[in-house]
């Protein structure tokens, strides 16, 4: 027997053994679990998704407009007024394009667009100027890349639901109101979520949910330090 013939025979035996093993271990009532295995997205699949993202507001810190006090008129700096700044909660839209490298790993790139409001509460004026909240609406774009680890061992919904963990980094670009000034920054993010696929073909639709946190520096609302921003997202997804 020559080499290729030996290989073909061995492969036939191996396939038969694996098939027998599956038939022996899968209960008859679990026919729906045909999704497990080859119907889990696999290497080479492409996923496109789009949806909405909600980000809660976050504090940017307080500050005092201070003047140097004349010695003998009190202690500490003279506070002219105080500020308390925050970025208000915002809803954005996002789109992502991903490629599965294997059943467990995919990479994706995406963009998130939102228009958060930057507000600064002005209080405690030394000459009793009325308190006021100064505002500005930012136009924010985050372009990012992520690696997703699909937890194929803990699927749910009859195999339609597949959790994942994700981590990545992004570029942040904020355009201030009137579009006169742009400020950039970067972010690191990690989180998790799940896909829930409908259908079983190569082309199939699904939904996707993400939760995560983004550690950002730079950008228009970088008033004091870096900040950590949580987010929740829901998307429609299509796999092909």
């Amino acid at each position: 027997m020559n080499g290729p013939a030996i290989w073909n025979a061995a492969r036939s035996c191996l396939v038969a053994a694996l098939t027998a093993a599956v038939l022996c271990t899968v209960p008859a009532s679990a026919s729906a679990q045909v999704y497990i295995g080859q119907d889990i997205p696999r290497g080479g699949n492409v996923e496109i998704s789009g949806g909405v993202v909600w980000m809660p507001g976050y504090d940017l810190g307080t500050a005092s407009a201070e003047e140097t006090r004349n010695p003998g008129t009190g202690t500490g700096p003279f506070v002219l007024f105080q500020t308390d700044s925050r970025t208000e909660s915002a809803v954005g839209v996002q789109g992502k394009l991903g490629v599965y490298l294997s059943r467990s790993v995919s990479v994706e790139g995406g963009a998130l667009f939102s228009r958060p409001e930057l507000s600064t509460r002005l209080t405690g004026d030394a000459e009793s100027a009325p308190e006021l909240t100064a505002t500005e609406t930012l136009t924010r774009l985050v372009v990012d890349g992520s690696v997703l680890f699909h937890l194929t061992g803990v699927t749910f919904g009859g195999g339609r639901g597949i959790p994942f963990l994700s981590a990545g980094a992004g570029y942040l670009r904020d355009l201030h109101e009137k579009n006169e000034v742009a400020e950039t920054g970067h972010e690191l993010h990690f989180g998790g979520g799940f896909h829930y696929w409908f259908g079983q073909g190569k082309h199939r639709a699904g939904v996707r949910a993400d939760v995560g946190v983004s550690r950002r520096s730079g950008g228009a609302d970088a008033i004091d330090t870096t900040r950590t921003i949580p987010s929740v997202a829901g998307s429609f997804a299509y796999l092909f």
Partner: protein, 332 residues
């Protein structure tokens, strides 16, 4: 041939008369039909020291204090200015002799004036050709590094007067309070505030953001031109411009305070020398002090409005400006 004009006692620093508010202001002069900023066209500024001391301060100590004060301004990264001590002279610091001279003079008649600066200007170009500063020996002076109780710090007052010598007018970046017998300054955030701190302190030796913006506006360095921006707009009341309103910009990142005044009847203002980024704006009237410390007495300065903030955050671009801000104030 240049025609020269003397401006006597253009600015002074009173001990007890003060005005609250904020902002730098530049000195200007009329040349023909236009107003030009007073500034030196030739650098370094060459100056002489009157070879005469006063109680507790020798002429050499005077020269050292003045040199340190010049160095403070020369070191401002926002500006390109320089100075050179030429030598001691016997002349008093008086205008018209062609030499920029700094020294002590006994002026008991000026009982609220610690020092004053005068100018000789070229009426064709508006350039400063001579400027003289005197320190009033009617007051006690000190050159102690830590300050001396009961004595005014000569270097601090020299920093203020040399700011004038460069072309800066008074800043209103400070606060005062009414007390029996007059006002007293509570705080200031500019060495160009017209009222001195109490005797015994050396706090006036250090330039503040408002001073740095002001000197950069007159003698801009490359970093000033490229690295800072401006906010411009107008202050209105019932649809009409407000003259002499005082607008301050507070940098939400650096916490610097820099200001400007409305200088025309339409209420227009420009605040330059701001670090890029988000700012909040506040406007107030010059309503409780000596308006003549800032403006010509013939101007109709409007002080009948309430202090207030601007409802928008204003972002300053690097090397550019944000315009179109309108602060609408209401009468008291």
């Amino acid at each position: 041939m240049r025609r020269l004009l003397a401006i006597g006692l253009a600015v002074a620093m009173a001990a007890t008369c003060q005005v609250p508010a904020f902002a730098y202001l530049k000195l200007g002069t009329r040349v023909g039909t236009r107003t030009v900023t007073l500034k030196w066209s030739q650098l370094p500024i060459r100056y002489f020291i009157t070879d005469r001391g006063t109680a507790g301060v020798t002429s050499t100590q005077l020269q050292q204090a003045v040199q340190a004060a010049f160095a403070t301004w020369d070191g401002a990264t926002t500006a390109q200015v320089s100075s050179q001590f030429v030598g001691f002279v016997q002349n008093n610091p008086t205008s018209g002799d062609g030499a920029t001279t700094i020294g002590f003079q006994n002026r008991p008649d000026l009982d609220r004036t610690l020092g004053a600066t005068s100018f000789m200007i070229d009426t064709v170009s508006g350039a400063i050709v001579e400027s003289d500063i005197f320190f009033n020996t009617a007051f006690p002076w000190s050159v102690s590094a830590q300050g001396e109780t009961g004595f005014f710090d000569l270097q601090s007052i020299a920093v203020h007067e040399i700011g004038h010598l460069h072309g800066l007018a008074h800043s209103a970046m400070g606060e005062t309070e009414l007390r029996a017998g007059g006002r007293r300054v509570l705080a200031a955030e500019a060495v160009m505030f017209p009222v001195a701190f109490a005797s015994g302190t050396t706090l006036g030796r250090t330039l503040k953001a408002d001073d740095l913006a002001g000197i950069g506006d007159i003698y801009p360095s490359t970093s000033y031109t490229r690295g800072t921006g401006s906010i411009s707009g107008k202050v209105t009341k019932s649809g009409k411009g407000v003259l002499g309103a005082h607008v301050v910009a507070f940098d939400l990142r650096s916490h610097a305070l820099v200001g400007g005044f409305t200088l025309s009847d339409d209420g227009a203002f420009v605040i330059a020398g701001l670090t890029p980024g988000p700012h909040v704006l506040r406007v107030e009237p010059l309503d409780d002090g000596d308006i003549e410390s800032f403006f010509d007495a013939t101007l109709n300065i409007d002080i009948n409005f309430r202090p207030q903030f601007y409802e928008k955050t204003v972002v300053v671009p690097e090397g550019g400006g944000t315009s179109g801000v309108e602060l609408k104030v209401v009468a008291k």
